[in-house]
């Protein structure tokens, strides 16, 4: 009897440990391409209708391909809500952010988990992403997000206005852009601006240094990671911008802008023909189709500085990031969704077709499912260009860009005269902010 009991006990122990072992093993391998436990998970996305409709459709495809995983999609969220939810312990299983600058906050804080082990296990390589999205979705080597759809910037031009002025093609250099901008500009009898050839006003619509910089080959940081704005490239870019603003008259442009209509509305100045040439993102193609299908326009890479002809075709890109908040209770299932939305070429192509953003893997750029609208191909090409750059991810989020913009606004209005001194001072401020953000860290 004792032997029977002993044998039963051993059997029970083996069973228990065996179960434990298999359970552990199931858990540890569940993030691989093999099956995971069924679960209900939630994803937060900043998209709202009509983009949200496409997003939900692609998530539905994911559910079909992953039976047992049910995804609740919540649209219209933002980073403030994500941060508050993570702090409150009720964040979603998957979060998408429009602000890749915040990778520098989500990664080092551990708020979004490191995806490295999942990627390694599933054989997802960094190299499937072009260089720029690869960079803006990780911080100091830690990949806590995948890029998911990107924006690329280029030049939109009004074909009718250009043709009237005798132009058959868009400008390729800054000199050409400037000459054409002046010729395309129209004023009324009182001198008020009626049509602006190219509006260089700082922070108007998409006029931020991050978008202009690549055309001059300007970089944000030096090899040591320090702010590097006091360079001939940035100085040239800003001198050009100031000279064109002065040609229009600063106050004239302010008055023009005040009556130009909201950027994200059907009264957008380019869409209504008040601006002949325009720096903008790829999404404008969809806006134009929806709001002003009658407008005859073309797209091209943004012109480059005269001495940087080799950069023509490149531009600026940034985009959404997607990751798993640390409070997620279904990380394995969440990873499957992140992987699907961030790396599946068909999913990315379908998202691109519906939302009119650039898909973010090299394979998805060549996907047969991708059906770009007329004019959209320019942005796919800009995105894929090897010289296309993005802004560096820092611990201070977008503070470096905003500090720079603050100086630029004063320089371009004429209230600050010393360009090089101002750039040097801006570098010092940004470096000091970085240092302040690193204070108290273990060496």
């Amino acid at each position: 009897m004792r032997r029977v009991l002993l044998a039963f006990g051993v059997l029970l122990m083996l069973t228990v440990t065996g179960c434990g072992g298999s359970s552990k093993s199931a858990s540890s391998t569940s993030s691989s391409t093999t099956k995971v436990q069924p679960a209900n998970i939630t994803i937060w996305t900043p998209f709202v209708d009509p983009e949200l409709i496409t997003f939900k459709k692609v998530v539905k495809d994911f559910e079909t391909k992953n039976p047992g995983i049910h995804v609740k999609v919540i649209g219209g969220t933002n980073d403030d809500k994500i941060v508050a939810a993570i702090r409150g312990g009720n964040a979603p299983d998957v979060a998408q952010s429009f602000t890749s600058d915040n990778t520098g906050v989500f990664c080092p804080s551990g708020a979004w988990i490191d995806l490295g082990s999942y990627m390694q296990k599933d054989g997802v390589k960094d190299s499937i992403f072009p260089a720029a999205p690869r960079d803006y979705s990780k911080f100091e080597g830690k990949r806590c997000a995948l890029p998911m759809l990107a924006d690329a910037y280029g030049l939109y031009y009004n074909k009718t206005l250009l043709a009237k002025a005798g132009y058959k093609s868009p400008p390729k250099t800054i000199s050409e852009l400037t000459a054409m901008a002046k010729r395309l500009t129209q004023r009324d009898s009182s001198g008020k601006l009626k049509v602006v050839g190219f509006n260089p006003f700082p922070s108007w619509y998409e006029n931020v240094p991050a978008h202009f910089g690549p055309s001059w080959g300007a970089n944000w940081v030096d090899g040591g990671g320090n702010s590097n704005l006091n360079t001939p490239a940035w100085a040239d870019q800003l001198r050009w911008q100031k000279s064109l603003i002065d040609w229009y008259g600063y106050d004239n442009l302010v008055r023009f802008n005040a009556g130009a209509g909201d950027e994200f509305s059907a009264s957008n100045a380019f869409e209504t023909g008040k601006v002949a040439m325009h720096m903008d993102g790829e999404w404008r193609v969809a806006f134009l189709k929806r709001e002003h299908p009658e407008l005859k326009y073309g797209t091209a890479p943004f012109p480059v500085a005269d001495d940087k002809a080799d950069l023509y075709g490149a531009g600026y890109t940034t985009g959404s990031i997607i990751g798993i908040p640390k409070t997620s209770k279904h990380k394995d299932q969440a990873w499957l969704l992140v992987k699907y939305l961030g790396t599946n070429p068909t999913a990315l192509a379908e998202l691109s077709n519906g939302i009119q953003n650039v898909p973010t893997t090299s394979a998805s750029l060549k996907s047969p499912v991708l059906k770009p609208l007329p004019g959209f191909q320019t942005f796919l090409d800009v995105f894929g260009n090897k010289n296309t750059t993005t802004t560096p991810i820092t611990r201070i989020g977008a503070a470096n860009q905003e500090t720079f913009q603050s100086f630029i606004a004063k320089y371009l209005s004429g209230s600050k005269k010393d360009l090089e001194g101002g750039l040097k001072n801006t570098d010092e401020q940004i470096d000091a902010m970085e240092k302040q953000a690193e204070a108290g860290q273990a060496p």
């Binding site: 991050a210 802008n257 603050s406 000091a432």
Partner: protein, 329 residues
């Protein structure tokens, strides 16, 4: 127990009973005060103590605070180049807008106290703007003062005057906000009106008998009598000026139009050229946009100290100007 012994213990019992009753009274008082006490501790005391602690840390809201000692204060006073412009903007508002608000509120109150017809209508008209939510009021002013399409500049244009750039000009943005502040003085105006009406009639009659004119009566009767209310309005105005945020935030973002980076609408805090970057706006920017909550807490502690100091100075120096009816001095 003997009668003598019983006599001796009676006062002790009485004092115990008194003490018990006193404790019971305290308990009841505490019980009645407990909702406030809990609210005060949870929503004021705790955040205040936490802010003080966080001001000595680097805190990004997501990872545990890291102790940095006085680094945030050193950064604030020694390195951050946005602090001084923000302080200057806030001081400008306190020095210009707050006195103008008090003057206008007082002026309207005095006029209303003398109106003979339609008093109710005028009171309503002047009070009504105070009911407009600050965001809606600011949006309305940005629309009215739009340099290109706004009705104000359109009318000025018809008169042959080119209107200013209002919220789009670093010189005019704070005066534009001041206009908005003056427009919304209804609350202060009502308090002044009550005080002005409350000035004893016999004082005016005595002054009149002594030959005092309108301005003398205002100077020597009305103002001294309502001086405690003026002091109240100034103190509240200064404290609100130190915390000025909503209108500046909305005006800058709306007038500044939109520029995007990183696929998200950029903030235009301080537009144009940091002229509306008030101290609380900078504090918000650091805490909630740059995830620099430790530093923002240090800024908040300075704001608290300055608020205390300014209020203390005003109240202390006010003794020369403020007269309390029935006071010993």
């Amino acid at each position: 127990m003997s009668a003598a012994a019983a006599e001796a213990t009676r006062p002790v019992d009485r004092s115990r009973a008194k003490s018990r009753a006193a404790w019971r009274r305290r308990g009841i008082v505490l019980a009645f005060m407990s909702p406030w006490l809990v609210g005060f501790s949870v929503f004021f005391g705790y955040p205040l103590v936490m802010s003080a602690y966080l001001s000595f840390t680097h805190y990004d809201l997501l990872s545990p605070p890291r102790w940095v000692g006085l680094d945030n204060y050193r950064f604030m006073f020694g390195t951050d180049q946005q602090v001084w412009p923000a302080v200057k903007n806030t001081l400008w508002f306190i020095a210009i807008a707050v006195p103008l608000q008090v003057l206008f509120a007082l002026g309207i109150a005095i006029m209303l106290s003398r109106a003979r017809r339609g008093v109710g209508v005028f009171r309503t008209v002047f009070y009504l703007p105070a009911l407009a939510p600050p965001v809606a009021a600011t949006l309305g002013f940005v629309y009215l003062l739009n340099p290109a399409t706004g009705p104000v500049n359109t009318i000025l244009g018809k008169l042959g005057i080119q209107g200013p750039l209002w919220f789009d000009s670093p010189e005019w943005s704070k005066p534009s906000l001041t206009l908005l502040a003056i427009w919304g003085v209804g609350n202060t105006m009502i308090i002044f009106l009550a005080a002005v009406i409350d000035v004893p009639k016999h004082l005016y009659e005595s002054a009149e008998l002594d030959g005092a004119g309108i301005f003398s009566r205002l100077r020597f009767v009305t103002l001294p009598t309502i001086s405690p209310v003026i002091l109240f309005a100034v103190v509240i105005g200064v404290i609100e000026g130190l915390q000025y945020f909503t209108q500046a935030y909305v005006a800058a973002n709306v007038a500044g139009g939109s520029a995007t980076y990183s696929a998200e609408q950029a903030n235009k805090l301080g537009y144009p050229e940091d002229s509306t970057l008030f101290y609380p706006v900078l504090l918000y920017q650091q805490g909630f946009r740059y995830f620099n909550m430790g530093y923002a807490s240090a800024m908040a502690m300075l704001l608290l100290a300055v608020s205390f100091a300014v209020t203390f100075l005003i109240v202390r120096h006010s003794r020369r100007f403020v007269h309390y009816q029935g006071a010993a001095r």
